[in-house]
């Protein structure tokens, strides 16, 4: 994967946008020759973060702009970072009964998960490993 490559998408935080954003990410990773298994995993984890924005971010928020931003970026080391951010408010709670699989899935896939709730919520995930090393 070539460092410097980047995908940045601003879309309304609505459920019908999640699949197209995921597809754009998958095609971005395919152009960077990430293999299908790793591509699936990254889009799976990212899909969870996007679904959380749609489901939770603006429930307790008065924000007028109800957007979601995706940023996927290859850094110098050939590491992939994905950021999913919103301008809503993070809801801290015990897992709802029979739910709570989203963050669990992300944790199973990403090497690192950080949730920054300083201004809205920014979920950052990094993905490493042989599938993400620069191939040439």
């Amino acid at each position: 994967m070539k460092p410097g490559s980047e995908l940045r998408l601003y879309c309304p935080a609505q459920s019908q946008y999640v699949a197209p954003i995921r597809h754009a990410l998958a095609a971005f990773l395919e152009a960077l020759q990430v293999d299908p298994g790793a591509r699936d995993d990254v889009t799976t984890a990212t899909g969870e973060a996007l679904a959380n924005v749609v489901e939770h971010a603006y429930v307790r928020s008065s924000s007028k702009t109800r957007d979601v931003q995706l940023l996927a970026r290859i850094d110098r080391g050939g590491r992939l970072s994905v950021y999913v951010s919103d301008r809503g408010s993070f809801i801290r709670r015990k897992p709802l009964p029979g739910r709570g699989f989203g963050l669990r899935i992300i944790r199973a896939i990403a090497q690192q998960l950080r949730i920054d709730t300083t201004r809205g919520t920014c979920v950052s995930m990094t993905f490493e490993g042989p599938a993400f090393l620069e191939k040439r």
Binding site: V18, A19, D40, T44, A51, G98, R104, I105
Partner: protein, 110 residues
């Protein structure tokens, strides 16, 4: 249930994700006469936790009513996301229809 007549098949395909939540929930309905359910998910190319939550809800409520449910899963993303979610033990998953039907037939005679 040797004749398999009261095994209901529910088939879902494509991407099972948040944008199709209502459709998935509507598809996952039982009727009073169902004795067993085969969820044919062979053609599911993607599933997210919203879909898994709906599937789990369906399986749990079926189990309460003593209705066995078997899932046919054939695609790698789906198989993996079930693992990632820690739900491997929550579903009866089979790699093909015949194995799923055999399980449902067995459940009935038990």
């Amino acid at each position: 249930m040797s004749d398999g007549e009261s095994i209901k098949t529910i088939r879902l395909g494509g991407e099972l994700e948040i944008g199709r939540k209502d459709e998935i929930r509507t598809a996952l309905q039982r009727s009073g006469s169902d004795r067993a359910v085969l969820l044919d998910l062979s053609d599911v190319t993607y599933a997210d936790s919203v879909a898994l939550t709906e599937l789990l809800r369906f399986c749990v409520s079926s189990s309460h009513d003593a209705i066995p449910v078997a899932l046919v899963v054939r695609t790698p993303q789906f198989a993996r996301v079930v693992q990632y979610a820690g739900l491997a033990g929550a579903f009866k998953i089979f790699g093909d229809r015949d194995a799923a039907l055999a399980y449902l037939a067995r459940s009935d005679t038990e």
